[in-house]
């Protein structure tokens, strides 16, 4: 005879997710940004890189939805195409940071002792160094460009994931079911793969969405400083840099790319918060 304490995981999750306002809002916003990036490959109102010299710094109109920039390019098309850049940088940088960071964190947690101490002090060190500053130095060293800014942001993500993985993994290692697995004869590697990782995946997914948002902000800042994506590839951050030069003549130029950044970040953060609520950690350690 079995008492179902809580509805089973899979169908319950979808139902609860659809009723969770910030999850839904975040998913919709993020979905729209991704859609915009995908559509930009096949269609934009104007070719994003096409310069119409006669149409420089035009205000928004029917022909130019969001106006034109100092080179006479269509801002709406540039923003659509710029989404590709932000998503690319976010995905790859978080991917790098997550892969390396999770590996380090799991290793530190499984080994404990000196290994853990060394891994964590190293991550403290990277952490203590202002992230933007190291990104500025790295891109200065290797030259501006998308690839280098991805590496710079990715490196900054490593200690973030290493720390959170280690903390979460340590709490799993302290649980009795791990002791039970050891008593059953399993070694550190199998326990890490079979027990620790599945129990921290949800925490990592939540953190990944948040780091994704931070990566988009960082890429925008680097591009704004002229260290990120190089012209002519469209990038939201660089659009803002260029807009600032013409702020008195064409103030709207400085508005739309910022909105695009803010909405993507907002969407991802809402998504992350929603996921965190839905994966309620209290359920896992319910007594």
């Amino acid at each position: 005879m079995t008492v179902a304490a809580t509805p089973s995981a899979a169908p319950g999750f979808a139902a609860r997710a659809l009723r969770h306002p910030s999850f839904v809002a975040g998913a919709v916003l993020t979905g729209l940004i991704v859609l915009m990036a995908l559509v930009s490959y096949v269609w934009t109102p104007h070719p994003p890189l096409e310069m119409t010299v006669s149409q420089r710094l035009k205000p928004p109109s029917e022909a130019w939805w969001l106006g034109t920039d100092a080179f006479g390019r269509d801002v709406a098309s540039l923003i659509m195409a710029g989404a590709r850049n932000s998503i690319l940088v976010g995905v790859v940088a978080v991917g790098i940071g997550m892969t390396a960071g999770v590996a380090f964190g799991l290793y530190a947690s499984a080994k404990r002792g000196w290994t853990e101490e060394i891994v964590m002090r190293l991550s403290d060190f990277v952490f203590a160094f202002p992230a933007i500053l190291s990104a500025v130095m790295l891109t200065a060293l290797a030259g501006a460009g998308t690839a280098n800014s991805i590496i710079a942001i990715g490196i900054f993500n490593v200690p973030v994931f290493a720390r959170i993985t280690r903390a979460a993994a340590n709490s799993v290692w302290a649980r009795e079911f791990v002791l039970a697995a050891r008593a059953a004869g399993k070694g550190g590697f199998r326990i890490t793969v079979e027990h620790v990782l599945p129990n921290i995946v949800s925490i990592l997914v939540v953190q990944a969405t948040i780091q994704f948002a931070i990566a988009i902000l960082a890429e925008a800042a680097l591009s704004y400083l002229g260290l990120g994506t190089r012209p002519p590839d469209p990038s939201w951050g660089r659009m803002l840099n260029e807009a600032q030069a013409h702020i008195f003549r064409s103030p709207t130029l400085a508005v739309f790319p910022g909105i695009a950044i803010a909405l993507s970040v907002l969407g991802l953060n809402l998504l992350g918060d929603g996921l965190r609520d839905l994966i309620d950690p209290r359920l896992a350690r319910k007594r």
Partner: protein, 325 residues
């Protein structure tokens, strides 16, 4: 007029499976100098009853019925007036002395706090009095403890501090919610002795909550057995132990291994599991696990049947049960 009078107390909690009555139609009275035990398993509603008496229920809880302290109705009292009563006229000791003390405040300050709050004492006077209290509860070297922090004390010592804190303003009513469950058995005896001595010394009323029939048997004059939010049996402790008049009380008693000579016969068990709040049956809450269940058991919460002087049982077959034994 008794010190504490509870009538038809019902507390409804929002659970993740819909609203459920954590406490159902509970009624009792308690006078100064009396000790009343409340026994039951986890989730039976005993802690919620205690929190209802202190008006410290979680925000979403709904409360019905009446709680009167010295004739004063508490359920309709404003928050300010309740704050004036809590810690002064009624006090509470909790189960976990580790987490129930503020880790970043000194012992002295925490014990002195109710004195400053309710008695209007100066810091210095309250500190003086806190020292006396810590001495009274048997904390070794109390003067040095005043400026220590909770993490520097052992579990038993922390529980003594909790008791000193609860007794600071000489309350009329002391509620002790599983005060010894987190402690070792030899310390448990000391703490129970201390509580009983203080209750006697000051003429307080004590409501002692425990899951352990042994603790209740040894410390209380009267007792109530709770199951599924209802008091299923109540009476003078000796009387209840002599003539258990509810199948749940009997089940609880029989399920516990005894200290005496070991037997080959297995322990008596209660079939099934405790139902969740939201799934409580409409009738007797114990019906679906009860060996004596008959169809009328499901018709509604059985009324309290008088079984002896001051002894009641909410079982429609209580008389048969007592007669058969």
């Amino acid at each position: 007029m008794p010190l504490l009078e509870v009538e038809n107390l019902t507390v409804t909690l929002a659970t993740n499976r819909g609203p459920g009555d954590a406490v159902r139609n509970v009624a009792f009275a308690l006078d100064r100098g009396e000790t009343l035990g409340l026994v039951g398993e986890s989730g039976c509603g005993k802690s919620i009853t205690a929190l209802a008496l202190m008006s410290l229920l979680p925000e979403r809880a709904r409360i019905a019925g009446s709680i009167r302290l010295d004739g004063r109705e508490l359920t309709t009292l404003g928050e300010d007036q309740l704050c004036g009563l809590r810690g002064d006229r009624m006090a509470m000791i909790f189960q976990e002395p580790m987490t129930s003390l503020n880790p970043v405040q000194t012992i002295g300050r925490q014990v002195a706090e109710p004195l400053i709050l309710h008695k209007g004492m100066t810091r210095a006077a309250a500190r003086e009095r806190a020292l006396d209290l810590l001495d009274r509860v048997g904390l070794p070297n109390p003067a040095a403890r005043l400026d220590q922090f909770p993490h520097q004390l052992s579990g038993g010592q922390r529980q003594r501090v909790m008791i000193a804190m609860a007794l600071a303003c000489d309350p009329d009513l002391l509620i002790a919610d599983e005060p010894t469950t987190a402690l070792d058995v030899t310390i448990q005896g000391q703490i129970l002795d201390l509580i009983l001595d203080l209750v006697e010394e000051r003429g307080m009323a004590l409501l002692l909550i425990s899951h352990d029939l042994g603790v209740i048997a040894e410390t209380t004059q009267r007792m109530m057995v709770m199951y599924g939010g209802s008091v299923v049996e109540a009476g003078p402790t000796a009387e209840v132990f002599a003539r258990m008049a509810h199948p749940y009380t009997r089940g609880l008693f029989a399920a516990r291994p005894k200290l005496g000579p070991a037997t080959e016969t297995p322990l008596a068990t209660i079939a099934g599991v405790v139902p969740e709040l939201a799934d409580l049956p409409p009738g007797c809450p114990f019906a679906n696990r009860c060996p004596l269940m008959i169809p009328p058991c499901n018709d509604g919460l059985p009324p309290p049947l008088p079984m002896g002087p001051d002894h009641i049982s909410r079982c429609i077959r209580a008389r048969e049960l007592v007669a058969s034994a």
